[in-house]
């Protein structure tokens, strides 16, 4: 028994020593938006292959990304909205200087179940649906079917952008269902006939139907020429102007390979 004990403790000490010495290759830690997630993950794979620097990506929402950056527990915060003044103040109080780098442009697509005959909604119709004034698809030219309103959680940058661009101060109806990520909104809408939700353009596929807004179909082209109104910039926030590997990472969207990755994922390159 004693023998085993001493062997175990010896092993533990050895591991700890090893752990102390092997901190050379420091990983880049990324946290934040699920919308920016696909870009961050693809950049991470590309970066690990090219520079052999480990990169980890978590997708916990824009709000959590900002909090992580403020607490100093991530190097890059992915955000699908810009930082709010109180977040910047909180960061400044902790000695962190948040600097935004634009990753890409993204459209916010309004999606419905593919069986829904509605093709177009106006901005005010969407606001009416989300504030509970319109409750049946018949009221917007569809079949007689109750509308299931799906929104994102308060932590989401997509939700904030939607409120800012569409709701303009109006409250989202209490009966709205809340989903925690772009993927789960898409899932829910693809399985619910009367559902309506909003997701990043990069997440849309044939499982859901994109509706045009004010007569403009959401696509890379309409976002790029500013005719589609539900568009926003996606950011990566860092502490100060980043140097070294982190700097290289946030500058990826400006490189040729970075632009191609963004395009292949269905986002729109800004540069």
């Amino acid at each position: 028994m004693k023998k085993y004990g001493s062997i175990c403790s010896l092993l533990l000490v050895m591991t700890l020593c090893w752990a102390g010495s092997a901190e050379a290759a420091k990983a880049i830690v990324i946290d934040g938006s699920t919308t920016v997630g696909p870009i961050a993950k693809s950049f991470a794979s590309y970066f690990m292959k090219k520079y052999q620097t480990p990169v980890t990506v978590s997708e916990s929402g824009s709000g959590n990304g900002a909090k992580s950056l403020i607490n100093g527990s991530c190097d890059i915060a992915d955000m699908s909205r810009s930082m709010k003044p109180q977040e910047i103040a909180a960061a400044k109080a902790k000695g962190i200087n948040p600097v935004a780098s634009v990753v890409a442009l993204d459209g916010l697509a309004m999606v419905v179940h593919p069986s829904n005959p509605v093709r177009n909604l106006t901005e005010s119709q969407i606001a009416d649906i989300y504030s509970g004034k319109i409750i049946n698809w018949r009221q917007v030219g569809g079949a007689s079917f109750p509308i299931v309103v799906i929104q994102r959680e308060s932590n989401s940058g997509t939700q904030e952008t939607f409120k800012e661009l569409v709701m303009k101060g109006r409250q989202v109806v209490n009966s709205a269902e809340t989903q925690a990520s772009n993927g789960s909104v898409k899932n829910r809408v693809s399985q619910t006939r009367g559902a309506i939700g909003f997701i990043g353009l990069g997440y849309t596929d044939s499982l859901v139907k994109k509706v045009s807004v004010n007569g403009v179909t959401p696509s890379a082209a309409t976002v790029n020429n500013h005719t589609y109104m539900l568009a926003r910039e996606l950011f990566m926030y860092t502490n100060g102007r980043p140097a070294g590997m982190v700097g290289r990472f946030v500058d990826l969207p400006k490189t040729l390979d970075g632009k191609r990755i963004i395009k292949e994922l269905g986002f729109i390159s800004k540069y």
């Binding site: 069986s115 005959p117 292949e264």
Partner: protein
């Protein structure tokens, strides 16, 4: 009560017992069969030539010569399909603009479907993302995508008052009268010669790292992260738990403080795991700064706190079940209290303590909520032992959730998700099985 009634009662109780065991067995089957049958699909499947291409160029596995020969044959068949495309390209150019417009969009869909099925078309730039560099690597997926190439799913919106129903429209009928019409029967007939499916067991699913956010490759970083987290939690919780149990059973005097501690322990056992997760974030990472970011260390500490009450309880029960006579005999022979605990009580209680420990280990491996904010990431490399203090890690439980809900292409990589579920169930099952065996061995030794 007469004898007849007694017998009847006895029989009906036996029947009830057997019945409930059968129902439990069925429930287990209902849960396990889909897990195993779906999960095994990640390991054993019909791979296409695209998969062999992927393995050779991304993982340097397989025979280059054999693949070369296969590719020559496969490309021969593919080339004919590409020739049909090229012929239609020329035909399209010579059409009047209005007719061109009719075909343009459908043709683009055909090209996309063919690209998804076979990989990049000739003359196109090699995509940057690995997921677009290869065609379908699995035969079951290839058959699905073939259907997408042959048929277009259309929704009938002609009557705005009813919910539309989907119907498949053959793409060949859209292109009737053009040279492209030949493409569809040709691809349908020759798909197995283009893809060359064969059964394979892809062990790399367990030992490889994932490629391009789980599109290809395996789940080794997740498995390793799960093991690190569970063992890390044990390293902290097991000694603490056993020491606390010894204190409670042997040293603590009954009193206010002691009952307070005991009820605190019971309360801790009932706290939801997400609360532990948030506590771990607030305490270990934001207050104590055990690591700069999420890390295996922070996750292990959080999990350790979560499983501590269970370990204390199990160890307490085990120590209390040691017959009092053992202790009295030892003390009667002049041994000290400490010596009695170390040499008599603990060895006798060891089977019970270990069982509790290993069951907690299984729980630590399977929990998601405590590691969301403290340790788990959706993409990351397999970390070495040296990085556990500072690096976060992917872990099975969290990545299953991530693939099920957040991943941008969740529907396309279900097999990876199923494979992860099977691996996690297997790990937990193996841990519990080893607990049973360990317990049996130690009890035998003690009796012997």
């Amino acid at each position: 009560m007469n004898l007849g009634t007694r017998k009847l009662l006895d029989r009906s109780f036996t029947a009830l017992g057997i019945g409930s065991i059968i129902i439990m067995g069925l429930a287990l089957l209902v849960v396990l069969v889909p897990i195993v049958s779906n999960g095994i699909g990640a390991l054993v499947f019909r791979e296409t030539v695209e998969h062999r291409k992927l393995l050779l160029s991304e993982f340097h596995r397989g025979d280059a010569g054999d693949l070369e020969k296969e590719l020559v044959i496969s490309n021969g068949y593919r080339q004919k399909a590409f020739d049909i495309l090229a012929a239609f390209d020329r035909e399209l150019e010579q059409m009047e603009p209005e007719r061109q417009e009719v075909y343009r969009e459908s043709y683009e869909q055909v090209r996309t479907a063919l690209r998804v099925l076979l990989g990049p078309l000739p003359g196109e730039e090699l995509p940057e993302l690995t997921r677009f560099r290869y065609g379908q690597t699995r035969w079951d997926k290839a058959e699905e995508k073939l259907h997408d190439l042959l048929y277009e799913q259309k929704w009938d919106y002609s009557n705005p008052d009813v919910i539309a129903k989907p119907n498949d429209v053959s793409r060949a009928s859209i292109f009737a009268g053009t040279s492209l019409v030949r493409l569809f029967p040709y691809v349908e007939e020759n798909i197995d010669r283009m893809m060359m499916p064969q059964w394979t067991i892809y062990w790399g699913f367990i030992t490889d790292s994932s490629l391009d956010s789980h599109f290809f490759g395996g789940i080794w970083p997740e498995i390793q992260g799960t093991i690190f987290l569970a063992i890390g939690a044990m390293i902290f919780a097991f000694p603490l738990g056993v020491i606390a149990a010894i204190y409670f059973t042997e040293y603590a005097r009954e009193g206010f403080l002691n009952s307070l501690l005991r009820s605190a322990n019971s309360t801790l056992a009932g706290v939801p795991s997400i609360v532990f997760g948030l506590f771990g974030l607030a305490f270990f990472i934001n207050t104590l700064h055990v690591s700069e970011s999420k890390s295996v260390l922070a996750g292990s500490l959080t999990l350790a706190i979560m499983i501590l009450p269970t370990i204390i309880r199990a160890a307490e029960e085990a120590i209390l079940s040691v017959p009092k006579t053992y202790k009295e005999a030892s003390l009667g022979l002049g041994s000290t209290k400490w010596n009695t605990i170390m040499t008599v009580i603990l060895p006798a209680a060891l089977p019970g303590i270990l069982t509790g420990g290993v069951i907690s280990l299984g729980r630590a491996a399977g929990e998601t909520a405590p590691i969301i904010f403290t340790a788990a990431v959706s993409v990351g490399t397999a970390i070495g032992l040296g990085d556990v203090l500072s690096s976060p890690t992917p872990a099975l439980s969290w990545n299953i959730y991530n693939l099920a809900s957040e991943h941008e292409a969740a529907a396309q990589i279900r097999h990876v998700q199923y494979g992860m579920v099977l691996s996690l169930v297997m790990i937990v099952l193996l841990l519990n099985l080893s607990a049973v065996i360990l317990r049996a061995r130690i009890s035998k030794k003690l009796k012997g």
